[in-house]
Amino acid sequence: MERKNFIRSLMIGAISIPVIIEACKKSGVTDDSVSGSGTAGSTTSTNGTCTVAPTETEGPFPTKSPSSYVRSDITDGRTGYKLAAKITIGNINNSCAALAGAIVDIWHCDADGNYSEYGGSGMQSTNYQSVHFLRGRQITDANGLVTFTSIFPGWYSGRATHIHVHVYSASGTSLSVTQIAFPEGSGSSVALVNGYSKGLNGYTYNNADNVFSDDKTGIEIAAVSGTLAAGFDLTFKVNVRA
């Protein structure tokens, strides 16, 4: 036992010597950053710099991490009336039978009508914990179904209440980009939610919406049921050519 410890202490000594040598070389960090072609004008000379090399325990060791879109609950702390969205994907090339293994992205605005997005100015940064709120990705099950937990979308000027949907094949090839509209009129979810704090003054209804107004048969309108207290359930089917 004692001998083992002695050998171990020798090993620690042996490890620390190369570190000292390493410290006077050009840093591995600098090498990483400068390799490749860089961007125009941003690389300054590193000639003669003498910086330290890492001298701490490695880790945490990286593991493969799925896109942060991949989750069923996309609320990310946004408040509003609960909405459970059940979207089924059918294959037009197979009599609209359920399409399993398709990737379904959805995104919609929050109660105030804002999407998760950068503000746009070049210097702006974002907190990495909740940057992609109200955006999600699921893979259809054997019944072609995906389920998302979210909040009832708010609205913004010029558009009726809607949810964006992008359907991909299992390998990520785009199959359909579409939007889900909501039923309107007395007793409907849109009327019950009443535009959250904004009200519905200035609201654009489906028949005036530049995306939904050509949908005379209501094929883009989801079935939505529920109450403010219990939340709403939305069901919708998207048929794609796969």
């Binding site: 570190v19 600098t30 961007t39 991490s65 950068y118 940057v131 990520g172 090839t173």
Partner: protein
């Protein structure tokens, strides 16, 4: 010298030549996400490069944001510590919550052309003094203390002072 509160930006460039696992995962996953998300802005499949899409499609600059979802899981794995940047004792010492992701170049048919940058923005730090080429900084705390622990470091390439304000 009067105390100043600064934030540091480290612009980490990742391309096909990066060898460590974290960088490789970020490179591969952001490329796959770019291939998926760019189809929204390229529905007629007219373009293959990021530059062409940016030049020809309005709103395509949202791709920076949309693709960044592929890498935020990896940012979480860093536990709030900015990678690569060391103080003069050889320790990582910069902490962050904020970032900005950029696609520099890409091509849906060629991962070798895929090149991205992650800008890490440090939490505010107090810049006490400069000693030769080194900055002497410490974490900013709510209350003023008589004695604070400091970090001494040199600004390597791709690291800059992002913001500055006089300490109150």
């Amino acid at each position: 010298m009067p105390k100043k509160v600064i934030t540091i930006c480290y612009r980490k460039i990742i391309d096909d030549s990066n060898l460590n696992y974290w960088d490789k995962f970020v490179h591969e996953d952001s490329f796959l996400e770019f291939k998926m998300q760019s189809q929204f802005y390229n529905q007629e499949e007219k373009y293959t490069t990021f530059a062409e899409i940016m030049l020809n499609v309005p709103d395509a600059d949202k791709l920076h944001f949309l693709v960044s979802a592929a890498i935020t899981g990896y940012l979480r794995q860093l536990n709030g510590i900015i990678p690569d940047i060391l103080d003069n004792l050889g320790r990582r010492f910069l902490t962050f919550e904020n970032f900005k992701f950029e696609i520099i170049n890409s091509d849906i048919n060629n991962i070798e052309k895929h090149k991205i940058a992650i800008n890490f923005f440090s939490k505010p730090m107090i810049w006490h003094d400069s000693i030769n080429d080194f900055l002497l900084v410490s974490q900013q705390h709510e209350v003023d203390e008589d004695e604070v622990f400091t970090n001494l470091f040199q600004l390597p390439p791709f690291v800059s002072i992002h913001s500055i304000k006089k300490s109150t």
